[in-house]
Amino acid sequence: MTASPRRPRLLYLAFYFPPSRASGVYRARATANHFARDGWDVTVFAAPLDFLYDVIGSTDEKLLDTVDPRVTVIRPELDTFRWEHELQNMSWFRGMMPTTARRFFEWREAKQFPEQYVSWARSSVAKALKLHRSEKFDAVVATGNPFAAFAAAWAIGKLARIPYVIDYRDSWTLDLFKDQPAFPPEHPTWKWERRVIGKAASVVFVNNALRDWHAERYPEAADRMMVVPNGWDPDLLEVSADPVEPIEPQQPLNYSYLGTLTTHQPIEEMAEAFRIAREHPLLAGAELNIFGHLGFFKLSHAPLLPRLGLNAAGQVDPETDAGLRLRGPVPKTEVSSVYADSDVLVFLAAGGRYVTSGKIFEYMASGRPIVSVHAPDIAAREVLEGYPLWFHADSLDPEKLAQSIVEAGEAARRADPQLREAARRHAATFQRDTLLAPLEERLRSLIRSSTVRELSS
């Protein structure tokens, strides 16, 4: 065994980290766990807990237990000025001169970085440099959003002279729902993006479409760009290898959608298509169960309910009933049972050619028929191609969608064991650890061999 002076030390800037239940948290959790398992000493900088509990209000306590105990989580301070509503907590300056205080705050933030999480990035840099002085970090990985994490990684990399990698878990300067730049040309965001990409040791994207879009804009960094798709986490999803029993003709089919519903998704098209499909005898009594939160924030459910054909209390209105049922959120650690109880999974997604969506990997892992409800040129196609139980209309026309819903139902009733096996084999290639391995190798190749020698087992 080769002696090693110490484990390579990674600083991972992941604002959304358990117990947050933000959609990007699973990639961050898996990345930290993967590096810890591969022998890295991982320190994660995450959002303060009071921000997650009091401001965002979307947490999943059970997720905390799934973080590798070797991972150190530190929560640098975030200035909650813009989210502070309690007058008792406000200073004299803010209480007596609210307009001046707000303008001063906004001016101070804007001159540092064009994003509201800049104070967290600032405290992250200070904290990182303090920790680096006592024990050196070997590399920094930052995941966005928030993209202030990229700026922090750039600053830490520059001041501590260590390589940094930025992970575009989400899109920054590209509007995924309009397929066009998200900021006007003179916006300071462009200067920042050029700066952080320019000095990054590696730039990571979730799909090829996003990589190509950025490579076209920053050709000098194209050779440092790589794709790490989202994948699925076997430790969070119990996948049964048992063959699925055919469904009795008299038994109603159970369709499911798992995930957070958002305003950008083609919800009306899905509801209308399901209503039409239910008229087919194969779908008699079928229900489309929606498991998940309605929107990301405390009050975002209200505008979504009527779009689902439900009343303000989330109950079914008999006159507009399209067979949709709200089942509420499911902890990530319990989604396996939802997949097991579903006959068909509905892949409802917003956006177009640059959107992959994280949940499609779990959908595939379940080995169930998947019916697509999204724009036809979505980037998720590149992972769904080859999945033998994928049913897609290549259109958002409710009639055509209804047809694929029926076809998926037929496949569920047949439950062909060979097809199911082929589906699971396809999904196995998207296990998160498999997908993260190239990133870990890349980081290992970047760190200074003089300070850290290869760990061997």
Binding site: H85, E86, L87, Q88, M90, R94, G95, P98, T99
Partner: protein, 194 residues
């Protein structure tokens, strides 16, 4: 004006809105609370600019002033110096010149000066006085409205809500005086509206 508060068991919210007209979101907030059975006291800056605002009759509305412009000394002084005194002076002067052919040119000069003065006064009011007053107004109101607010039995309220930016200094002062009452800028219906 004020009517006695309802039964003690009902939740009670004091909403402070110091913009000249309460915004739609404020009106909808107090209406939703009233419909949910909450005892709502709404404190507005003046009755003059808000008398045509339609509010749920269950909401008890209180005012700091009848007419802010005439009850605040700084506004009275500013109006006097820029508008009333020059108007009176020019009026008196022109009463001596109007209709006298010998003073025709003097009268024309006075009329022109009056127009110039009027334009200048409006400019000073809009460009100089108003921006400064607008910035200082929340603080001035926070002093002037404390007596009115004290009549609202704030110690017995569940929460004090500063519904707009100019209401913050007054609500902030009240938050200090009544630390046991939750004081917030959030128009949060959740605790009261199902």
């Amino acid at each position: 004006m004020s009517t006695p508060a309802g039964p003690a068991t009902k939740p009670r919210v004091v909403v402070i809105a110091m913009s000249y007209k309460p915004a739609w979101r404020v009106r909808s907030y107090v209406r939703d609370l009233a419909e949910a059975g909450v005892d709502v006291d709404l404190l507005l800056p003046e009755s003059k600019s808000t008398q045509d605002v339609e509010l749920d009759p269950r909401i008890r509305v209180h005012y700091v002033f009848d007419v802010e412009a005439s009850e605040l000394p700084i506004r009275r002084i500013e109006h006097g110096l820029l508008f009333s005194v020059p108007a009176k002076a020019f009026g008196k002067a022109r009463s001596l010149t109007v209709g006298r052919p010998a003073l025709k040119k003097v009268d024309a000069g006075l009329a022109l000066s009056r127009r110039l003065q009027s334009r200048m006064s409006k400019g000073i009011h809009r460009k100089m006085f108003w921006p400064v007053f607008k910035a200082a107004r929340p603080v001035i109101l926070s002093r002037r409205a404390q007596g009115r607010a004290a009549e609202l039995d704030l110690a017995g309220a569940d929460r004090i809500v500063a519904a707009d930016q100019p209401a913050i200094p007054l609500a902030w002062r009240l938050a200090r005086r009544y630390p046991g009452v939750r004081a917030t800028t959030a128009l949060d219906r959740k605790p009261y509206v199902s």
